[in-house]
Symmetry: C2
Subunit: 445 residues, 2 copies
């Protein structure tokens, strides 16, 4: 019995109730959302040491951080450092996207130290299993290997999996006939298209979708339906390749949901600001209100080195318009594999985007956090401001870098502090609200 099966039967599974409490919503409300597929609760049935997490309509916008080795940079210990950096910065979920080294070993090491849901892209390991011990070309990969890997990862507790099931022969035709500027930029998507070209066959993850559903049913794995044709250039956004795949994902969403399997749908990518709201609407309509998991969107192509910022702009707008979880983008995007510092910057930038949208959308607790900070500012309560900061370590570091002569104020204005000058003649007294312990403010993690 999956969560959806139990909910349809009228009972609320414990992980759903626990996820609701962590979210501060009524369990019966979340139960209704999950039953209808408007939210998911992420927790593999056999996963240990992980709290269930709810993602979806009206809930706090979540942030995912990707880590993982590549063939050029393959040090498992470094990935654990990145894991800790991401968790410390407040990531809600983690994906292990390793493509170099012993992938199963690296994944196990990461999962053992990860108290939040973990996701993978199983085709990476399927490719590694084909090219590694067997020494074959990556395109010799077969469907059996893919499903063997998916089953193995599910059995080991992976909570959600990105699978590019929406790439079809028809979709490839749609995509190629329009001559994109920047083809396919999803690793899984690009490989799948190349494999289909070479073999002249349909995508196995589409052709044998029911087999995938069966595995997910057994382990309560959330299907994260990947967007292999997400635009990698603003010029390619919202084109027929992308929208055709999204329609296929809508069909697959219904099929999984009817089989009692939870689904979220992945989305773009590089999208100019004027197209973000339309993209959110399209996904919610075409995919039957499934939670939307977006990468970026990056609102311009020209800022490598700062794509955590281009993504924060797009991510905030996306979350405001309906996206439910933002995949972080680090400053290293488009240039190389991120290091731990990049990971931290990426998570914080995405959390800012998610929280800004939550404030605007009236998600319970979001505006209250801002209000507490503003009251601490009004009272020139510096310890309060630091404790209430999204990144208290960074805030303290910048504050301490140059302390003012008078510790009431800061070095920006010194005695000319606007707040101080205004308060002194103010008709009502300004008092610090005090501040709650930091864990309460940042939400249960």
């Amino acid at each position: 019995m999956t969560f959806i099966d139990q909910l349809k039967g009228g009972s609320i599974p414990d992980p759903v109730a626990a996820a609701a409490r962590a979210e501060g919503v009524d369990p019966s409300h979340l139960a209704e959302l999950v039953k209808e597929g408007r939210a998911i609760v992420c927790l593999n049935k056999v996963r240990k040491g992980c709290k269930p997490l709810a993602i979806g309509e009206g809930l706090r916008t979540k942030v995912n951080a990707n880590i993982g080795t590549s063939r050029d940079r393959n040090d498992p210990a470094e990935e654990i450092v990145k894991l800790k950096a991401a968790l410390d910065a407040g990531a809600d979920t983690m994906m292990d996207l390793s493509t170099g080294g012993d992938l199963a070993e690296i994944r196990r090491a990461i999962m053992a130290q990860c108290p939040v849901p973990i996701g993978t892209v199983p085709i990476y390991q399927a490719i590694a299993d084909t090219t590694g011990p067997a020494g074959k070309d990556m395109f010799e990969l077969d469907a059996e290997t893919i499903f063997k890997v998916i089953e193995q990862q599910a059995r080991e507790g992976v909570d959600f999996m990105t699978v590019h099931c929406g790439i079809t022969q028809n979709g490839v035709e749609m995509l190629e006939s329009q001559r994109r500027v920047l083809g396919v930029v999803s690793r899984g998507g690009s490989f799948t298209v190349a494999w289909m070209r070479k073999h002249g066959q349909e995508n196995p993850l589409y052709a044998q979708y029911d087999r995938l559903i069966e595995i997910c049913r057994e382990y309560e794995v959330v299907l994260s339906l990947g967007d292999g044709f997400r635009p990698g250039a603003g010029a390619d956004a919202t084109d027929r390749g992308q929208i055709h795949e999204l329609m296929t994902l809508g069909d697959l969403t219904l099929r999984a949901r009817e089989a009692g399997v939870q689904v979220m749908v992945e989305g773009p990518g590089h999208v100019p600001m004027d197209q973000i709201e339309a993209n959110m609407l399209l996904q919610k309509r075409l995919c039957h209100n499934a939670p939307f998991y977006v990468l970026g969107p990056l609102v311009t192509d020209v800022a490598p080195g700062y794509d955590h910022i281009t993504s924060a702009i797009g991510g905030a707008m996306a979350a405001r318009a309906g996206a439910d979880i933002l995949c972080y983008v680090t400053p290293a995007e488009h240039l190389g594999l991120p290091d731990a510092k990049d990971v931290r910057e990426g998570v914080i930038a995405s959390r800012i985007a998610a929280h800004a949208a939550d404030v605007a959308n009236g998600v319970p607790g979001a505006a209250e956090w801002d209000l507490k900070m503003s009251r601490a500012r009004a009272a020139l309560d510096w310890e309060g401001q630091i404790a209430l900061s999204m990144d208290p370590v960074r805030a303290r570091e910048l504050r301490s870098r140059a302390m003012p002569e008078n510790e009431d104020v800061c070095t920006m204005c010194g005695e000319f502090c606007a707040v101080k000058v205004y308060n002194e003649g103010c008709s009502h007294e300004v008092k610090s609200p005090g501040y709650p312990p930091i864990d309460v403010v940042r939400g249960e993690k």
Copy 2:
């Protein structure tokens, strides 16, 4: 004869024509905008070594960077380092907001090395002139001192001045009766309110506005009508204190315009995402389409240390909805005076916001830049990508930090590069577009 006078008389002043050429628009088009007050051309009549700059409707969104000493951190040489950092990062205008040391000397040193329009907040020097040599309390400042300073700065070539003319007795009443969370956070605004309280008098910059107009006429100084009541907390955004001042600024805009003086209007501040578009509309309506110069807006209050990001989100949305120039915010905002590194980060974040909006708004050249970058990515042309980056130094640094074994790709995916895998089986050849010299791409500066 001011620019507006000449335009009304049917001739286009040279600086207006030059600004139009730099912008890539027809001089007669810009002439019409300036005549109607929908755009300004910034260049003090006596200013040397500075190119005129157009700001306004349909033009490229500009970025301003603030530098300047405070009493706690007062090293003129450091401000020159910050000036160079801001210019190098691509700031379109600079403001010297010094409040510590010999303000006139610091301003002259900055202006001598600044090829872009320079702005000031004259009341800072008026306060310093009162408290410094005369040794008086800052509230002993009188109207004569203010106008003497304004005249002096105009005569020395300051191109635009922030003056908090819209603060009135009525406005203060509006503001105070609603009990804001975070009172007044503008330094000039806070001082003006406190001065008015102590003296029981009207704001001299409002009461003697015609005197101000006369000085601006003589030197072609652009009036930047300050928003003394800009919200410093999301909870205070779009309140009656703010909107009352904006209405007053609308009245003052018309009065200046009729007298042939160019005006831009300053705006918030801390504004939740759901209120940004309305704020832009209100300003354009209430201030008769005057160019809008916004600080931020910061879309959340809780991210000190990262307010260049909270501002990039709000700034992009503001520029998309009509803002014409973004005042940068640095990572040090709310915590202390920025250093040169903060200045660079702040300018780049604002430029990203401005450019993202320009792409969405169809500003000529903006989407073309993105398209060139995407073509360089499709061709795996790494030198092209770096040259086309908003910050080529940073892009090269991150790329070089860890070079892949195969220099075609990057360390993110290595041989598993999506673009490479896709291109190899692609039916059409992907060619690099080559790339123009960087100055052409980044716009004339």
